[in-house]
Amino acid sequence: MTDEKKRETIKFFIGASTALGIGMLATPLVASLVGNRAAIFGEESTSGAIPVEICKSPEACPREFGVSLDELRGGPVFKLIKVNSMAIPAVFGLVRATDGREYPTAYVAICTHFGCPLNVSGGKYLTGFFCPCHGSVFAICNNPAGCDRGRFLEMYVQGGPAVRSLRSIKVEVKDGVVYPLTAYI
């Protein structure tokens, strides 16, 4: 290889790696300055939630995926749901709303911060989650009119480093059993 060619190759490599490095740094910086990440990344990649269909309907759902309401009245229940190649750590729980009624809910017990498994907080009713790794605290919005930080039944971030609400699972009740339908992982 002649010296001229070598220099050109070197220039190309320096340029390419500098551009890559600056691009990697600049994209999130610009996005955080703009304040609206969705405008830069697009809605899908920002929320990052991938829908996974567990059952089409409660009728088509295997009984072992569901949790009976009697069991739920004793406290939140953890279930590892295996669909295709995925394992979804689901926590089923009853939420007592401010209007005095009970709502069955289910959440994916993976922290939206870095992905640690979550510990459930609350006794008989599901009130929130706590991340043992970096201390994120998730709390339920139990006001049917909605809360400051989230909609009704949204597991919003109450404290700690997480930025996104906990990902939830669509559930439906049939014959006193709560069935998971679609999980957003």
């Binding site: 009970e102 922290c111 870095f114 498994p117 480093p161």
Partner: protein, 410 residues
């Protein structure tokens, strides 16, 4: 007897081993310890391959939770006395437990593998820093060797993390889950790396498939790549020579490069000594600082606070906590890219350490970033906000709304 010596001579001759055994090695590289750490890392790699082979024979990858009676555990394992009558753990954990406590010599085997891995990473860091300060990439062909070395270092750290995950103790499972989910922040330039990782492995929660992929990567794919790059690197050094000493006087430098000894017996004897010293040091570490197998965990169980990552990646953990993860998650990639282009950026003509003071400072800062983060990771409390950067406001568009139509049951 004569036939054997004749056979040996034939062997040496037919495979051209004489050229290898007599290849010239400069005297200064035999004397100066700064030129030894690459050998230490390479020898550690072969010790790891040797112990890893036997570990792989006994290890079973699997995340299925099995319940075993506490009475079947070794009664002399008082490190984690079982609280209940039965212990729930993954298949991987049970097999790691069997290796560590119920197999003859298994304890030594596992500890030796662990300490050899730690020694390899330390040697790699020292080797990297030494070559950075000496500017070894400035000689002819040095840039390519530097590139191989940086890639090898990156793969070594990867191996450390993959190996840490395999026993599927609590810390390993947390490391795996963070590895599977952390890169969802990594959507620089619109490339959804996190989703690609999930699509490739099929899950963002440990499954049998995920752990099998990690097992194969740890015992086969990454070591094969390391072996290939290491072979190229040794070839490059064998024919390109060792980097010249950082001495300003060209005449003296030339004389030192010319002052060579044959590999056999000079460097060969040194290397034999090094291998035995290394093995004895590792055995001492195994004897005096055994690292217990960490406690088991099964999905759905309570996770205690205070779990930290293994020390080779502690610095990453610290910075990713300190700085907005949207920015800091790509830090290792940035560090890697910077390390790769160092020979291209450093075009100065300086040879001695004094002349290259700018690059010595850059090398010091580079190592200080890693060292500071590693130390800080051990010191700070876990759920503590280190800087104001840690608290990030929730972008309203990134909240996932509750998806079910709320329907009361009581």
């Amino acid at each position: 007897m004569k036939i054997f010596s004749r056979l040996w001579e034939l062997f040496i001759e037919r495979f051209h081993l004489k050229e290898f055994l007599e290849h010239p090695v400069p005297r200064y590289s035999n004397i100066n310890p700064l030129y030894w750490f690459g050998d230490v890392a390479a020898v550690s790699f072969f010790l790891l391959a040797l112990t890893g082979f036997f570990l792989a024979l006994f290890y079973t990858p699997g995340v299925n939770v099995v319940t075993i009676p506490a009475a079947s555990l070794a009664p002399w394992d008082l490190l984690h006395p079982p609280a209940a009558e039965a212990v729930r753990a993954t298949e991987s954990y049970i097999s790691a437990y069997r290796i560590a406590y119920l197999t003859p010599f298994g304890f030594i085997l596992r500890q030796f593998h662990l300490w050899a891995a730690y020694m390899m990473i330390m040697a790699v860091l020292v080797h990297f820093f030494a070559k950075f300060v000496l500017g070894s990439y400035k000689r002819r062909g040095g840039g390519a060797l530097w590139l191989l070395g940086v890639l090898l270092g990156f793969l070594t750290i990867n191996q450390a993390v993959l190996g840490y995950i395999l026993p599927l103790h609590l810390d390993g499972i947390l490391a795996l889950m963070i590895g599977l989910n952390l890169f969802r922040y990594f959507d620089y330039l619109g490339i959804p790396v996190g989703n690609a990782v999930i699509a490739l492995l099929g899950s963002n929660y440990p499954t049998d498939q995920v752990i099998r992929v990690i097992y194969v990567a740890h015992i086969l794919i990454v070591p094969a790549v390391i072996l290939l790059l290491l072979g190229l690197k040794i070839q490059g050094i064998l024919y390109g020579g060792v980097s010249p000493p950082p001495i300003k006087n060209a005449e003296v430098r030339e004389r030192m490069v010319k002052d060579v000894e044959p590999f056999y017996p000079h460097r060969f004897a040194l290397m034999v000594g090094q291998v035995f010293l290394q093995i004895s040091l590792l055995m001492l570490l195994v004897a005096f600082f055994p690292q217990p197998l960490l406690e088991p965990w099964a999905p759905g169980e309570l996770v205690p606070a205070g779990v930290r990552p293994p020390w080779p990646v502690m610095w990453y953990y610290t910075y990713v906590k300190m700085i907005d993860p949207f920015i800091s998650v790509g830090m290792p990639i940035l560090m890697l890219i910077f390390a790769l282009v160092v020979p291209l950026l450093d075009r100065s003509r300086g040879i001695t350490v004094g002349e290259r003071w700018v690059w010595v400072i850059i090398a010091l800062v580079y190592m200080a970033i890693i060292g500071y983060g590693s130390v800080l990771g051990f010191i700070i409390d876990i759920p503590k906000q280190v800087t104001p950067f840690t608290q990030i406001t929730v972008p309203p568009d990134s909240a996932v709304p509750y998806v079910t139509t709320p329907s009361p049951v009581g």
